[in-house]
């Protein structure tokens, strides 16, 4: 896996930032190619996608209470994901392949009225 990294801007809001050092905006670089099964180098490789990014953020940026961020290998219901300002449901959700310079935003809808 010699391919270079993909740099991204990742943002958390709606209260999610509290789980990530209370910092909204993060610069993140992830490998361009990753194993299909997270953390299993023996599985076939695939281009890094949002499903990978979610796991990567959990293991590298998340500071507390993983259950408020992830559930069943994806984000917890009630967290919206935007890819360059577009609802990820229109972009293939977890299967969206990350590109250099992408802005990925995670917003919790679960906090406060």
């Amino acid at each position: 896996m010699s391919e270079s990294n993909v740099s991204l801007k990742v943002e958390f809001s709606g209260g999610l930032e509290l789980l990530f050092s209370n910092q909204r905006s993060h610069k993140v670089a992830v490998p361009g190619t990753v194993p299909t099964k997270y953390n299993d180098p023996s599985s076939p490789s695939k281009p890094a996608d949002i499903a990978f990014l979610i796991h990567y953020l959990r293991d590298n940026l998340l500071k507390e209470r993983v259950e408020l961020f992830m559930e069943n290998d994806t984000v917890r219901p009630g967290i919206l994901v935007l890819v360059n300002d577009t609802d990820w449901e229109l972009e293939g959700e977890g299967q969206y392949v990350l590109k250099e310079g992408d802005e990925i935003v995670f917003i919790s809808t679960l906090h406060g009225g």
Binding site: S13, G14, G15, L18, R76, P77, G78, L80, L82, D85, D87, V105, I107, S108, T109, L110, H111, G112, G113
Partner: protein
Amino acid sequence: MPPRTCALCSTNRAMLKRPKTGQQICRECFFYVFETELFKPGDRVAIGASGGKDSTVLAYVMKTLNERYNYGLELFLLSIDEGITGYRDDSLETVKRNQQQYSMPLKILSYDELYGWTMDAIVSQVGRKNNCTFCGVFRRQALDRGASMLGVDHIVTGHNADDIAETVLMNIMRGDIARLGRCTSICTQGEDTIKRSKPFKYAYEKEIVMYAYFKKLDYFSTECIYSPDAYRGHARVFLKDLEAARPSAIIDIIHSGEAFEIREEVKATQKVQQTCKRCGYMSSNDLCKACTLLEGLERGMAQAGITDRGRKKLESEGPAPENLRTIPFYQPPSAGNAAILLEAP
């Protein structure tokens, strides 16, 4: 049958019987009542503002529509300060920014001012188990009282479809038939209370959040530090799981809530509304819930307003002392009693 004249203008010929009121009215009056159902020009409307996403979007949308369609409404922000250090004081800063951004007058009414107790003080006496009961009862009454001080005709709140579906579920789980019947109506008005409505009844939480995101609205999103309303929390998570499996679940649950019909025999057993003997607020008992809770706090028997056993214990200790702190007597809304002390912009 001879033609009938309109029950509203007494001039034109009635063309329609209104299903809601049974009134026979003419075409022009029908258009008028239909179009002004929610708001009338000149109405004074308070937006219950917490600084959170829902009420921030509501304030923005109300302002925008009022200007775009010339509703002619006079809009106010009304915030309740529960007295929760590190939570409400921060969110009130957001409301104060909204006051500037939307140039709307703001009134803040605090629990401390109204009840003599902040939530911080209540929690230090009752602990974290039942504090949401106090907060909910106190907030409801504080909103009505704040609105009455502002002399408004109408309170709008930011409850969205997810909130209403959540409330339907909770009322079913608790078997609270009276509330189940009420909680899905967009607009409620009792005899002594100010009209209340929930314009976002059909707006999904996702839409509210996306709207705020695209419009770059400034809102506050931190969970209440005392928020252990575990029951509501479970209902909320359950609902989000249902929604993930089938997005229509939210609207379907609201619809189910609306479709419940309460049998007349059951209605007859429900308590009639009266006014609280101590503070004048509407109540289904001699004392309203807030007065009962407050008396319990003041006499160091906080359980009095929560359980029947606590209530009996309080009563067995004799009548309330003369010098008991009470809530100021409620002035039902009427034009002209507005004594407004607004926040300086």
